[in-house]
């Protein structure tokens, strides 16, 4: 009968809604845990760096002392790409992907593998920038998920980047530039002809291309954040250009 069918349909809809609610409850719980853990991790890093500098009076050796913690927490951030991909976080997968990739690249393929640059001032510069940025960002997400966002965190999240982003880029670029001579001399991560796969790779030129890629990529990320800022802080409606 018609009513029998209707009941069946309504029941199905209710179970579906229930499924959606449990799924988003699990997602919220996981994200809250993740963001608290990451805030804590970067706080630990900040404190470790500050303590080292106060005790030793120099920045030389700071990187070595925090290297393991840094690698752990920065690599863990790869999960964020997954969060966007499965939809529990409403950010573009590509934007997150590019940011996480550049971090992983700096940590694993520059500072971790090229020991001679580890004591450069530029490394301290980007480490400080990353630490400030990440503590702000993760605590922002945490408070948002807990529905209790203090204004100063929101302010920090959407204003500090204006200075932090360019400083971070300068630190990263200077570090890569400093690494170039060592890469050239050692021929690391490079593959020469002849070989049976008929391909070659020169890490030195690759790094130069990476440095050049900051030119188109950095402004896009920066203006993306500026647009977000205008929308969140000033409630402006930004009309995106149609494609």
């Amino acid at each position: 009968m018609a009513s029998g069918e209707e009941d069946g349909a309504v029941e199905e809809k209710e179970t579906n809604n229930k499924k959606k609610r449990t799924k988003s409850a699990i997602a919220t719980a996981w994200l809250t845990f993740y963001n608290i853990a990451m805030t804590a991790g970067w706080l630990v890093l900040a404190l470790a760096m500050a303590r080292y500098y106060l005790q030793k009076g120099t920045h030389k050796g700071v990187y070595r002392s925090i290297a393991r913690t840094l690698k752990f927490f920065q690599t863990f951030a790869v999960l964020e790409v997954g969060h966007c991909a499965i939809g529990i976080v409403r950010t573009s997968v590509i934007v997150t992907g590019v940011q996480v990739c550049s971090r992983i690249f700096m940590v694993w393929f520059i500072t971790n593998s090229i020991r001679q640059v580890q004591n450069q001032e530029s490394v301290i510069l980007f480490l400080v920038v990353w630490t400030v940025t990440e503590i702000t960002r993760y605590s922002f997400y945490t408070f948002k998920l807990l529905n209790h966002l203090p204004y100063f965190i929101k302010w920090a999240r959407y204003n500090l980047f204006i200075v932090m982003y360019p400083l971070g880029v300068i630190g990263e670029l200077m570090t890569i530039y400093a690494a170039l001579p060592y890469v050239r001399r050692s021929g690391m991560y490079s593959l020469r002809l002849p070989n049976k796969y008929n391909v070659s790779f020169d890490y030195y030129y690759f790094l130069i291309i990476v440095m050049l890629s900051y030119i188109p990529l950095f402004p896009q990320l920066y203006f993306h954040m500026l647009r977000q800022r205008r929308r969140v802080l000033h409630g402006e409606v930004i009309v995106e250009k149609d494609e």
Binding site: P194, N195, Y197, V199, S200
Partner: protein, 290 residues
């Protein structure tokens, strides 16, 4: 903009409507809709048959500078043909000067050049004589994007295959012969599909029909796949990868496969939407798998 018509108007929508008033917006650039968020009207739509009253409101959108599909295809295919040959003949400034205008000592390199050139000549001829395009034009910026892709990859592959330090395939003649058979089989297959698709459509028309296997055995793959032209294209490039044993070629094959899968899935979905009786056994690009 609003137009009044007396119910007997048989003019097509976009061709004459704006061209007279705004000549810089030639018809191919115009997107005319009845609803701002709806789909564009087609060139063939006639005012009289549209769901409007005596006064019609149309919404106009400038699609940007346009370029014809034929022009784009010819440019993007002519590039690889010529670029590869430049590397094959070892034109100066690519390899160390002592190798200028020399030829490779490996016969597989000559074979690869013939296959690569044949592939792109075939594509150019198909563009001129076989394909029947649904749309006349595409946005102008596509030609830069597409040419960068085709020309860039062609240069990258050709550099290694024609390099003085090229290493021939590990399993030698056996591997190359197998690869050549796969390559030729898939080239013939791809061509057969293009002919079959062309024959679905009378000249000058833009009708859409379900493609079916014909007497040509190469088209029997239509039983299992919606877009066998892409399947055969993948096969050709797998053959070329095997023939040259060159990682950049493998990479090019992979990227092409990803793009063709995206296209095949979209095509498959639109077939399913348009035709109620679409054969259920078919997959978009790989039988039973994808």
């Amino acid at each position: 903009m609003k137009f009044e018509h007396n119910g007997k108007d048989n003019r097509p929508t976009s061709t004459k409507l704006c061209a007279a008033c705004y000549p810089q917006w030639y018809p191919a650039r115009q997107s005319i809709r009845l609803d701002p968020k709806g789909k564009s009207l087609k060139d063939e739509d006639v005012l009289q048959h549209l769901p409007v009253g005596t006064t019609a409101t149309f919404y106009f959108r400038d699609l940007g500078a346009q370029i014809s599909w034929v022009t784009v295809f010819l440019t993007e295919y002519a590039g690889p043909l010529l670029i590869y040959l430049m590397f094959y003949f070892r034109v100066p400034f690519i390899y160390p000067p002592k190798y200028d205008f020399t030829t490779s000592k490996h016969w597989v390199v000559h074979l690869a050049c013939m296959c690569h050139s044949f592939h792109y000549v075939k594509r150019l001829l198909e563009t001129l004589f076989v394909h029947r395009f649904s749309h006349g034009t595409m946005p102008l910026r596509n030609i830069f994007k597409n040419c960068t892709y085709y020309w860039g990859f062609a240069a990258w592959m050709a550099y290694y295959i024609n390099h003085p330090l090229y290493t021939p395939p590990t399993y030698g003649e056996q591997q190359v012969k197998m690869a050549l058979i796969i390559f030729l089989f898939c080239q013939i297959g791809n061509f057969s599909i293009h002919i079959a698709l062309r024959n679905l459509r009378p000249p000058g028309s833009k009708t859409r029909k379900i493609p079916y296997p014909t007497k040509n055995p190469f088209t029997w793959i239509f039983l299992l796949v919606s877009c066998p032209n892409y399947t055969y294209e993948l096969g050709s490039w797998l053959g070329f990868t095997l023939m040259t044993q060159c990682l950049p070629v493998a990479f090019f094959t992979l990227v092409g496969f990803i793009q063709m899968t995206v296209w095949a899935k979209a095509k498959h979905r639109s077939y399913l939407k348009e035709f109620r009786d679409y054969p259920p056994l078919r997959s978009p690009i790989l039988p039973f798998v994808l």
